[in-house]
Amino acid sequence: MSKRKRADPKLSGRDPNEAHEKKLLDMIRSKQGAGATMYELKGDKTIPPTMFTRLVQSLKKKGLIKEIPTMNNKGHKHFLAMEFEPDKELTGGEWYIDGTLDVSKIEDLKAKCVMILERHRHRVVTLDVMCGYFVKEEKLSVDQTKEILKNLVLDNQIMEVKSNGLNEFASTRIGEVCYKLTGKKSGNGEARGGAFASIPCGACPHIGLCTPDGVISPTTCVYFQKWLEF
């Protein structure tokens, strides 16, 4: 998965730490795209513990290794040999820029998706048509398009249906994956509002602490107070 960018540069000069540096670099290289943390490097007992920071700095200066912040744990830096690209586990994947999820791009793509389905409100749109559009116009991969569609299904904004070749599926192959909008406007029914969610206790973060005679109680509750303001 990790790509080799260029050939190994030769270590040069008569640095007294050359042997240690070489060893460290080999260790980092062996980790490929996953990189190595300082903790992992310090596992090597043949190098004096006090030298690690200096050696790493030196390798960095020479342009032989780079430092990648991990997306899951910003404080945990990973060292990668220059010729490797960081793994998905470190960067977060295609949707991440500098270790942060590109939410605005995702939301933008989702809005475009909904727009297409709105335009075809009275029939279904196949996965192929969707992929065709997003691959050509937005330079997404097929998998990325699928991820966006799946996300909208999870949002309950669109639904995935398999064609049965009848009525609204007339122009599709039987079994083909299709999409359409949910909601009354599209004639597809709506999820119910939720009787419990619409009252203060349904949304209350303190329900576990609320008791009839406790410090948090329905008689003293501020959420109720606000709700009952007329």
């Binding site: 943390t37 903790y39 992992e40 596992g43 997306m71 899951n72 744990n73 910003k74 586990e89 977060g92 994947g93 949707w95 991440y96 942060t100 999820l101 939410v103 991820e147 799946k150 996300n151 299904v153 999870l154 949002d155 309950n156 639904m159 995935e160 249906v161 398999k162 049965n164 009848l166 949910t182 004639g187 597809n188 029914g189 709506e190 999820a191 119910r192 509002g193 939720g194 009787a195 419990f196 969610a197 619409s198 009252i199 206790c201 349904g202 949304a203 209350c204 973060p205 329900i207 576990g208 609320c210 009839p212 109680s217 329905p218 008689t219 509750c221 109720f224 709700w227 009952l228 007329f230």
Partner: protein, 584 residues
């Protein structure tokens, strides 16, 4: 079983990967939700009464009958069936044995308690002790009487509604008592009452009271010979004690809902009961022991030997369940589908054996169409349209399951699918409001997957920021909405944090929701009492005929009335949602 296998596949894969890197894996402790650490997949999980269910039931009894009665009730709710002596010993405040007996009589009269006894083992000298079983659901039904009343008023008219109201407010009455009651109130007349009662019984809205004190066969000495016998294979043994007691107490259909009934009948109910039970025993080899009606602590028989009637809650819940199904289909599909479903429920209703039926009997298109055109909204529907609606109802998508199943040209209503989708909507709405839309996506993803999934994979699937995902999942887990498995990783060259797997466990979530809904109903009721109490004088004043409130007083009166309306209508609607989880 399947999900377990899937879990193992995921875990095994990760373990395999980590082991190849020289790691040691062991499940860490504390993998269950903290709120549900004592969760067990036992029958108790399936029971309707959660902790707040009990508190709410006790609250209902306190409001309607006072605190002494509620003490007895709470004792039974928390400890299970007890004898009257044990109740007076164990109830939290000092209540004499005689007082306990009076309270039990009252609770039996209002159908909240059922007496029974268990046959002593063979050869035992000891006498069977009468025990009292509290009927949790019947207590909760007490706040639903308006709903029951509305069902009867809509279906059978106002006069039947009046007779039913009499039974609801008194618990149990004879025809004579109903007539006597009418003389002091509505004055609809003896003939009308008799006719209405007959209609109510025919529609199964009213039933003859169950046997006052059935004797259950001793389970331990249940004959081993039954095992493997044909009868045992066909008839499923009732599981809970409550089910056993109720099955033993309720008479056979012909006695429970008689077609002909006469006031002051000279025939003894006990005789009828006994014969009927004998018949039923011969038929189904049930565990009722006959001819052993014990002398009761509480005498329930009417001196005139007149038949005593009571509302049949089972039928009301069935009707409300059907109504809810039609509503759900109307919202999630359309009006046409709702009309067809209503007709299907009507066709299949008489053959439903229990309220929580998963699936209806199969029905032909012809019989469904015949029923559709007898209804006002369906009168103009063509068979073609009905068929199209049935197709729509049988369709599945990522959004909706099939509500109707087609088998060899016949159609079956899938009650479970319809109710489940409404439960899902309720739960997801809470997740959305309480934890936000990222959590909503994660929760829906885990519901769809139905198995354990690792944190990062959830973040990838829901497209949520990976570093925020664990916090969101943890919050839902702390509140009992998610199930978690933690795996500690040791060895290797460095520290590797434990990896976490998450899952939506429908049983736990449903129970959690139910408990919170009981809690919320209690809160609404307590707040209403509090609000009314704070404006008690004003409300008293406004009730006086010669007093006109003006200015600030008038404004306060308008406000308190608006609060009362909002709180009680919300409680009413919340109870509809609660029934989805507890009764349907």
């Amino acid at each position: 079983m399947t999900s377990n296998l899937r879990v193992r596949t995921t875990v095994e894969y990760i373990i395999y990967k980590l082991k190849s890197l020289n790691f040691t894996i062991k499940p860490a402790s504390g993998h269950l939700s903290p709120a549900k650490a004592n969760y067990k997949t036992t029958k108790s999980v399936l029971m309707d009464n959660t902790e707040y269910g009990i508190v709410y039931a006790v609250h209902i009894i306190t409001v309607q009958f006072g605190s002494v009665v509620s003490k007895v009730c709470e004792c039974l709710l928390r400890r299970g069936p007890l004898s009257s002596r044990d109740i007076s010993r164990l109830a939290e405040s000092e209540i004499s044995h005689n007082q306990v007996k009076d309270i039990l009589y009252l609770l039996i009269q209002h159908n909240c308690v059922q007496a029974f006894s268990i046959e002593p083992p063979d050869g035992s000298e000891s006498k069977a002790v009468v025990q009292y079983l509290v009927l949790f659901n019947n207590i909760l039904h007490r706040v639903r009487y308006n709903k029951f009343s509305r069902v009867v008023n809509e279906e059978l008219g106002r006069e039947c509604g009046i007779v039913l109201d009499g039974l609801l407010s008194n618990g149990r009455l004879t025809l004579g008592q109903l007539i006597e009651r009418d003389r002091d109130s509505e004055k609809i007349g003896e003939i009308v009452i008799r006719g209405s009662l007959q209609k109510l019984v025919a529609a199964h809205f009213v039933e003859r009271i169950p046997s006052p004190e059935p004797v259950l066969g001793n389970k331990e000495q249940e004959p081993a010979k039954k095992k493997g016998s044909k009868a045992a294979k066909i008839l499923k043994e009732p599981e809970t004690l409550e089910e056993r007691v109720l099955e033993a107490a309720i008479p056979v259909e012909a006695i429970r809902f008689p077609h002909v009934f006469v006031q002051d009948s000279n025939s003894s109910i006990a005789d009828n009961d006994s014969n009927a039970d004998n018949d039923s025993n011969a038929d189904n080899d049930s565990n009722i022991t006959e001819g052993k009606r014990k002398e009761r602590d509480v005498d329930l028989s009417d001196p005139s030997n007149e038949v005593i009637w009571r509302p049949n809650f089972e039928e009301f819940i069935r009707r409300l369940r059907h109504k809810a199904c039609v509503e759900i289909v109307k919202e999630r599909r359309d009006e046409g589908c709702a009309i067809v479903l209503r007709a299907m429920l009507e066709v299949g209703r008489s053959q439903e054996k229990k309220v929580k039926t998963d699936k209806s009997v199969p029905m032909s298109v012809g019989s469904i169409y015949e029923e559709v055109i007898t209804t006002i909204p369906g009168r103009t529907m063509l068979q073609e349209r009905v068929e199209a609606c049935l197709d729509q109802l049988s369709a599945t998508s990522s959004y909706l399951p099939a509500f109707v199943i087609e088998v060899d040209g016949s159609y079956i209503v899938d009650f479970k699918a319809i109710i489940s989708i409404a439960q899902k909507d309720e739960i997801e709405a809470v997740v959305m409001r309480r934890y936000g839309k990222e959590a909503f996506r994660m929760f829906r993803y885990l519901t769809m997957e139905g198995r354990f999934v690792e944190t990062d994979r959830i973040a990838d699937a829901a497209l949520t920021e990976k570093k925020d995902t664990p916090q969101i999942l943890l919050k839902m887990w702390q509140d009992g909405y998610l199930h978690m498995q933690k795996f500690a990783v040791t060895g290797g060259t460095g520290y590797t944090p434990p990896f976490l797997l998450w899952k939506v466990n429908k049983l736990i979530v449903t129970r959690q929701m139910l408990d919170e809904m009981y809690h919320a109903s209690l809160n609404l009721s307590l707040r209403l009492t509090h609000e009314l109490e704070s404006e008690k004088e004003l409300l008293l004043l406004s009730n006086k005929k010669d007093v006109v409130l003006e200015g600030a007083y008038e404004e306060r009166l308008i406000k308190i009335k608006a609060k009362r309306l909002l709180l009680s209508s919300t409680r009413f609607r919340l109870d509809d949602a609660l029934m989805l989880f507890a009764n349907f």
